[in-house]
Each structure stands twice: as C-alpha cells, then as structure tokens.
Symmetry: C2
Subunit: 361 residues, 2 copies
C-alpha cells in the first residue's frame, strides 16, 4: 500500500493506494470516520463491495446506514441528490455523521457535494472504485452535479477526510470503463514529464492487463501529479485549469450525445485528439505528435475521433462551458508535450480548421 498526502490550503488528507487498503482499517479508515457513517453507493457497486465495507465498519464499531442510488451519469442530478438528502434526514444523520462515497466518479462527485452542503458541511471519505475516480475525480475536492443545460454546473470545492483507492476493485470494472479511466492517465502523461509519457507507452499493455505493480505505479503517479497541481491552485484560478485538457471538446461531446452515451473518459479521449489538432492549428504541435497521442489512446481501446456534428453545435455546447469568461471560450492547448497553456483568443476560423475533418455536413 502507498500513501500520498494531499495538502490544500483548506485541508490536508491522505490517499491510500493499493490492493490491501481494506486490510489495515485502523490506519486507513478509523482515524477518518466518526461514530456514525452513511454509506452512499449505487445499485451496481453495492452488491459487489458494500458487504466488505460493512464488515470493516462493524469491526471498527462504527454505526452505519446505507443509501443506494440508481447507477449512471444520467442520474447525477438534483433528483438523485435529493435522494441523498432525504436518506440523511430520514436516518437523522447529524453534522458529524461521516458520508462514505463508495463507487465511481458519479457517486464521488454527488456524495462530495451532498457532504459539502448537508448541514453546511459534513465529513466525508471517498472510496473510488473506478480507474477514473482513483486517478482523477477523488483527488482535488471538486464536487458537482449536472444541470440539464450543462455538466457539473452545480457544485462546490470540498475536500474529503481520506481517500481509499482499492486497486483490486478494478477487476470487476467493465473493460470499457477501465479504458475510459485510462484516458485521464494519458492526459497526465501529455501534461507531465516526458519520462512518464514514454513509461506509459512502454507499459500500456501491462496496464491494460492490470498487472498490480504497474497499475499501482500509474495510479500513484497520477494522484501525485494531481495533488501537486491542486496544492498550488485549489480553486482553479490558474494551473489547475490545465487538467481540463480535452475537456472543453469532451463536454460538448457528452452534452450532444446525452450524458452517459459516451463515457466521460471516451469523450475526453476524442477531446484530447481535438485539443492536439487545435494545437497544430496554432502551430504548436506537429501532426506526428498527434499521431503519437492517437496511438497511445488506441492502445487503451479509446475512441480517437468525435461523433460528427456541425460547427454550430460545437459552438453552442462550448459556449456553455464553465471555462467561458466574459463570453470568451478558453481551450487548453499543448505548446509541446508537458507544456500546456490556456488559449483564450481562439476564433471560429481556427476552431473550424481544427474540427474540419470531424464536422457533419
């Protein structure tokens, strides 16, 4: 088991990463939960992992109740959030009842937001069970639900007491979901040092086979990178925005196709190709660079082109993006691998050029 400490200005907390995080609950759980906990999970994850967590809480003498939500990005909305509040109120959860998020990024984001807002802030613990949530959404304190007109539009910055990333739980994850998580791993490689990009290219096969050491190394490295960035810029006033590489395009894909049709990571994968194309348009990257990204994404079984849609649809979706400032769309581009930048002055012609091969008639 590896331990990583995240230090944000508002709060410091540990991430435990490994195949045995449940075997040392005195270290990984006991210090971070109160006398009473609310376990919040969904219909898919609960049958797989709820009994084990309950056994651990029993052993620790922590009282708990469970709230089981419907599964899927389509349910990451205010109705499902209200199901959490209703469950907490019905079970008379108090301000110091610990909310435990057991599931992927959807559960983590919603439970984090519920914790941020229940009685103006209850403690919570993340137990991410997808690759995406382990390397990305459980780190950094962003919580949110979707609005019908935009993804993650309602949320809060709120840090957990601790994160338990049990790598063994990834074995039950559908292959498509595992690949989707790998999109964010690849994103870190494009943003970070050249060594990690090369390491990833060399180890993608082992990673896709969930070879334990390689997996642990990749998850740890990604969490470390994200933790470093968040420590510098918790509220995303600057460098944290680089983590949105591929996401402006990706969010447009998700919104256009209806949340949940394309997985978040799949949309981000295609979005990163587009971000590379835009970086080419700006004269930063070479076509060969983009081809290298495409090869890596393909090795992870990820899509490398968006669904076809007309330019005005792209624009309509992207103008709703949270990164819009004073009406100006802002894109994360790569000046080179490892050197991201925010381009705030992209005009329609440049966008059209980058998107040209992918536009609908």
């Amino acid at each position: 088991m590896r331990t990583l400490n995240v230090n944000t200005p508002s709060h410091a907390y540990p991430i435990f990463i490994g195949h045995n995080v449940y075997q040392q609950p005195q270290q990984t759980l006991a210090p971070y939960i109160g006398k009473r906990a609310a376990i919040i999970s969904n219909e898919t994850v609960a049958p797989l992992y709820l009994p084990r967590l309950q056994a651990v809480l029993d052993a620790l003498g922590c009282a708990y109740f469970s709230i089981i939500l419907p599964d899927g990005e389509a349910h990451k909305n205010s109705q499902t959030l209200n199901m959490i509040y209703d469950g907490l109120m019905q079970h008379r959860a108090e301000r110091n009842t610990t909310l435990i998020a057991l599931g992927g990024g959807v559960i983590g984001d919603m439970v984090g937001f519920a914790a941020a807002t229940y009685q103006r802030g209850a403690p919570f613990v993340q137990i991410p069970t997808t690759l995406l949530s382990q390397v990305d959404s459980s780190v950094g304190g962003k919580t949110a639900i979707n609005h019908p007109l935009g993804k993650n539009m309602i949320g809060a910055f709120y840090q957990p007491q601790a994160v338990l990333a049990d790598l063994g739980s990834l074995q039950t994850l559908p292959a498509r979901e595992f690949s989707a998580g790998m999109a964010e791993v690849i994103k870190y490689a494009l943003l970070g040092d050249a060594d990690f990009l090369t390491w990833l290219e060399n180890n993608m096969a082992a990673l896709m086979a969930q070879q334990p050491d390689v997996l642990a190394q990749a998850v740890y490295h990604c969490c470390q990178m994200k933790a470093d960035i968040v420590a510098q810029d918790e509220k995303e006033h600057g460098i944290r925005a680089h983590l949105n590489l591929g996401h402006t395009f990706g969010h447009a894909i998700e919104a256009e196709m209806g949340y949940g049709q394309w997985l978040h990571g799949e949309a981000v994968a295609a979005g990163m190709v587009l971000a590379c194309r835009l970086s080419e348009t700006l004269g930063y990257l070479k076509a060969a660079d983009t081809e290298r990204v495409i090869a890596l994404l393909q090795a992870a079984n990820l899509p490398v082109a968006p669904p076809r849609m007309p330019l005005d649809k792209w624009l309509a979706h992207m103008q709703h993006d949270k990164k819009v400032q004073d009406g100006q769309m802002r894109f994360v581009v790569l000046r080179a691998f490892g050197l991201a930048d925010i381009a705030g002055q992209i005009n329609t012609t440049q966008l059209q050029h980058a998107l040209q091969p992918y536009l609908a008639a």
Copy 2:
C-alpha cells in the same frame, strides 16, 4: 451612511448601512460587481425596489438580467433553488457573473447558496430589505434552503462581496415583519453588554417608529456584534452558536406550524422566552429576568408564548435540529444577561419543567 468591515478567515467584505447607500454606488456597488449581474428577487420586493437597482446598474454600465421568484419561506426549497439555476443557465451566467440578492432573508439565504454552488462559486452581493436580514441573515455567510424534514438543512458557508443595507426600504415592510426582525435585535441585546439592553429598552418606541438615527444605530450595533462573533468563529465551532439563542425552540415552532405560518422572528421571540425559562430551570435566571425580556418583546409587538403542543412533538422537532451532536440536544441558555452558554446535558425532565406552562394536554 456607516461602513462596517467584516473579516472572516476566508474573506473580508464591507457592510454599508444607511438611508443613502444607493446614492454612492461608485463606493457601495461598483467595486463589488463584475461586468454582468443576475438580480434575484421575489414578486413582492421586485416591484418596489428592482427599478431603482436597475437604474443604478445602468448608470454603472453593468449588464444584468433578473430572476423573480415566488415569495415566502414555503418556497425556500430545492424547487425554487432550481429556478435560480435554470435562470442562470438560460441566461448563460458565467462563473464571474455577480449574483445580487434583493430581498429579505429568504432571498438572501437562497441566493447565497446558489452563488456558493453555481459553477462551484460565483460572486454575490446582498441587498437585504428586511430588518431581520439587515441585522442578521446578511451578515456572516450562512446560506441555506430548507428540507421538508428540517429548516436550513442544506447550505454552505459563503461570504458576499458586499452588503448594502438600505434602511429606507424598511418603510414598506409590513409591521409584523418589522417586529419579527426586532426579535433578533433583542436577541443581540440579551447576548451583549448591559448598556445595549438598557439602550434598547429606552429606545424601543423610537425604533418601532423607525426614527432614522436610532434605527441606524441599532442596525449598526447588531451587525457589529455579529461581525465580531463571525470573525472569531466563522464555521460555528464555538461562540457563534450563541447566536442560536431561542432558535432550537423557535425552529420547532416553525416546523410544527408549517414554515411561514409563524414568522422566523416570531418563533425566535417565543423561543427566547423558553430559553429564559430553561435558564430559570437550571437556576441561572430569575423569573424577574424573564419578565424583563417579555416586556421588551411585547414592546416590539412580538409573541411571548409558543403555540401549545405536546412534549413529544417538541422533542421530535428538536432532535432534528442541526445543533444535535451524537444524539444530544444542545440548547443556548443564559447564565445571566450577556453571558450565554451551551447546555448539552438537558434531560427530558428539565425540558418538561421549562415547557410546562406551554404544553398541550
């Protein structure tokens, strides 16, 4: 115009108090709003005060749109909150669009919560138009909506950029609402120094007549007291809880009667009498002290007894209170005027004794 600076660990901001806060918008508004604002008000306040605010924003060159909500505590819920989010999304409000809350505490609490959560935090400005919101809810950064099973159960700590308390707007306030706000003024007098209590007893008639200087002095003093307390204890880990004097009982009254039947301040008025009775039961206050409080409340046309309900109803409501910790109800009591304390070990017999004259058969 008087200016008070509130310093919380998270954020510092000014409160402008007076009859002419709109006449110096370069000082009171311009520095605190962005290029674009969303004015959020209700059907009662908007016809009275929206045109004037719009004129000021026009003069400042700030673009704006308005969202007008239904009026009343009964609407301080997730449906109305969603109306705010919908309006913000439909008007494509961005992360730096300033939300302006124009109205009483219901509007201020809801808009504050919407601001805390829209795109994980948008700037907001409070323009409180009731006495209660000027002396209490607009200061200190507590924001919330109600849950069907409990008041203010969903919320956040979130500070505004500035507060504009226009005392002139109180002239259109229904007398009953003005009195309700006076309950919180009296609460400060019970918590604070003896001079202010005496001053209030001497000036209650002038205050009820809205004599400008007296009114300004009272509002300023209350805001000052609250700002001091909030600066010491933003997140209510300690002394800030004293501001809940009368509120545990008051919330039970509001919940039992249905939100909005008893005004918040009216419930707090009766609740403070009960807090005094409980303080008597504990041997802290004398009956004569409670009579002095009752006289002051009566001079402000406030109720001094709760509606009759059986003990088990009281208990059921109060066990849902946010101040409950590990199943233990916690009451703010007065050891003496100006000396509040948290009593965490109240048993049912003591409660029954304090409530005896007011219990239903």
